[in-house]
């Protein structure tokens, strides 16, 4: 069988109309050169290189290891079919040939695969890898990271030294099995807030402390924050947020702004729901700490009721990073009602009164 090709000798750009015949060892290319002489060139199959990518109506090869390389190009359908059906593995590409057979079907198939792979990567692989990374980070690294964040924050925090000392004593009195050294701070502020940093630091704002009425409520707050620390919630949250955001921006950022913004927002929503699941985990774990410390578990729902009173608008659950306080009151109360008999820890009560006093002194 003879095929039509264009042959280039690598020395000049002259195009030679040529015919090609193939056997199992070589391509034989015959053409007439510029001096009207017939020429035959033999290409050993082992030295032929595919030059382009698969296309339905075009194929090209180069030949030789030494420069200049010879080249053939062809739009001959018979030749393209011949190459794609030949058993020379290095010349044809069965996967591409199959994909290009029915374009519409392949595009639909590839798009569905792309969506499946994208979803699986985003919802399963990336979160697993990110959480795994946060979990395997050494204790020292976690503490260093927390210290680093605290150093940046601390310049803006007005720390109440006496209350801080008393709060630390309170926490030391609780039965907490912590892998990280716990360090608590009371900060003068009108915001009703408390938060934990990776590696053991807990910051409680004075106005929240002032609203708290009993030692059980304070124990609930500390229990909740300690479980964020123990379970490396901050790190997990950052790792998942960052890796997910990078994935979304790499995949959609290149395409166009509008899609990227849409996807970024979708990512934010998903991240919020993850944060909420972490909050719930911290509530349950916090109740365990309270139980161990011999504190009335009702302190937790009571704490939420205080927070609920102080928050003017209760944002719907899907928008808030804390599960709606109403929900949290219901599920923590249920657990608190089932608490076994216990002997109340009286030292905690004393320590709590000392904290109250130090806050009052500061306000005078």
């Amino acid at each position: 069988m003879f095929f039509e090709v264009d042959y280039f000798d690598g020395k000049s750009s002259r195009s030679h109309k040529a015919t090609l015949s193939a056997n199992s060892l070589a391509f034989l290319i015959s053409y007439t050169n510029e001096n009207n002489k017939s020429k035959v060139v033999s290409w050993e199959i082992s030295n032929i290189k595919k030059s382009g990518v698969y296309a339905k109506d075009f194929i090209s090869f180069t030949y030789g290891d030494l420069f200049p390389f010879q080249r053939i190009e062809s739009a001959d359908k018979k030749f393209i079919d011949f190459v794609n059906n030949s058993d020379q593995k290095k010349l044809n590409n069965s996967l591409d040939a199959m994909l290009h057979k029915s374009k519409k079907r392949s595009i639909v198939f590839l798009l569905l695969t792309l969506i499946t792979v994208g979803i699986a990567t985003y919802f399963y692989i990336i979160p697993t890898v990110a959480t795994g990374f946060a979990t395997t980070l050494t204790k020292k690294n976690v503490i260093d990271f927390g210290d680093y964040v605290f150093r940046i924050l601390s310049t803006e925090l007005d720390i109440n030294e006496t209350a801080t000392k008393k709060l630390q004593e309170f926490a030391d009195e609780m039965t907490i099995e912590s892998t990280f050294p716990l360090k608590l701070y009371v900060v003068q502020s009108d915001d009703m807030n408390a938060f934990a940093l990776s590696g053991g630091k807990i910051i409680v704002f004075s106005s929240l402390l002032e609203k708290i009425e009993t030692e059980a409520q304070l124990a609930a707050l500390i229990g909740h924050e300690v479980s964020h620390i123990e379970n490396r919630h901050v790190l997990k949250n950052i790792a998942r947020n960052l890796s997910g955001a990078i994935f979304v921006s790499v995949l959609f950022g290149d395409i166009n702004g509008a899609t990227a913004v849409l996807m970024d927002n979708a990512h934010m929503f998903k991240q919020l729901s993850y944060t909420r699941s972490l909050e719930k985990e911290a509530d349950i774990f916090g109740l365990d700490i309270m139980r161990e410390s011999n504190v009335d578990l009702h302190g937790m729902p009571q704490l939420f009721e205080i927070l609920q009173k102080e928050t003017v608008i209760d944002v719907p659950t899907y928008l808030s990073n804390h599960p709606m306080l109403k929900n949290r009151i219901i599920y923590t109360e249920k657990i608190a009602n089932n608490q076994n008999k216990f002997i109340k820890n009286t030292v905690l009560k004393q320590k709590w009164q000392q904290i109250k006093k130090s806050l009052e002194n500061n306000n005078e």
């Binding site: 280039f8 190009e73 290009h100």
Partner: protein
Amino acid sequence: MEIISEKHLEKTSIKYVGKGAEFAIIYFKNIILTILTLGLYYPWAKVEILKYHYQSTALDNSRFSFNGTGKEVFRGFIKVYIILISLYGFLFYSMQTQNEVLMFSAIGIFYLFLLLVVPFAIHGAVRYRSSRSSWRGIHFKYLGDRVEFFWLYIKGVLLTLVTIGIYGAWFQVDIRKYIFSHLRFGNLSFDFRGDGGRLFWINLKMILLMYPTLGIYSFWYYKNLWKFYAENTTITQDGKTINFKLKVEAGDVFELVVVNFFLILFTLGIATPWVAVRTLKFFFRFLKIEGEFNTDTIQQTEYDDYDDAAGDDALDFFDIDLL
């Protein structure tokens, strides 16, 4: 009587013959493989996409060819990432120490490095792409000098800073002049004959008219800009000059940009490969070669076998596109 062969009367044609559906298969296949390998397949994906665009560009019915390999691009990719990771590592380490001198010098070194590496990356990328590009077996090559180009670039950056951006137009033209005047295709040579003042005027008109016309002027701006780049590029063959014409109007730019925008928007990006093909078809449809260009007598010259793709990969990182 002089006999003029028909061949020479016929204008040399250049066109893009790629097909959207065909490219879509290649594009989606490569994205899937890149995601599945968490990015490691990227070099091979990039090479396959480049190969498709090159082989779909036809000059006088013969196709261009990109001869780079995934392996070469992968090696460059690793080099770039090792350098970037060590730079970031140094930056984070210095921040952790809380030592202010170390911190500021690390930030300084970081940005200085990013600035200084760009000209080397451009040089490497142009040289690699040229070495790996061919048509009818004739190879391109870039003969620019790395150090010379570096100083040209630094001079341009400094002058642009000092003149609060005004020199930018001359800077861009200088860079292009340097690259093109050192580019060869077999025994053909290239040049860029644009004038910085003209580019400055094009940019200035854009700044002045953009807001009063609510952005509508931008279609004229792109027309002017693309014409400026295309029509000032020349090829010299045996002492004769070959020119390009880009016969595009603002209306054509409008059609290209607006249709591309809606295609991408309403398909949430799925139309990307079709848009890429449309855009390339657009440019080659309007690009005309003028002058006596004999496409049969180009002679091969010495080969510049440059296999270091690190510059090309670094430009991907900086999001700089060649030409």
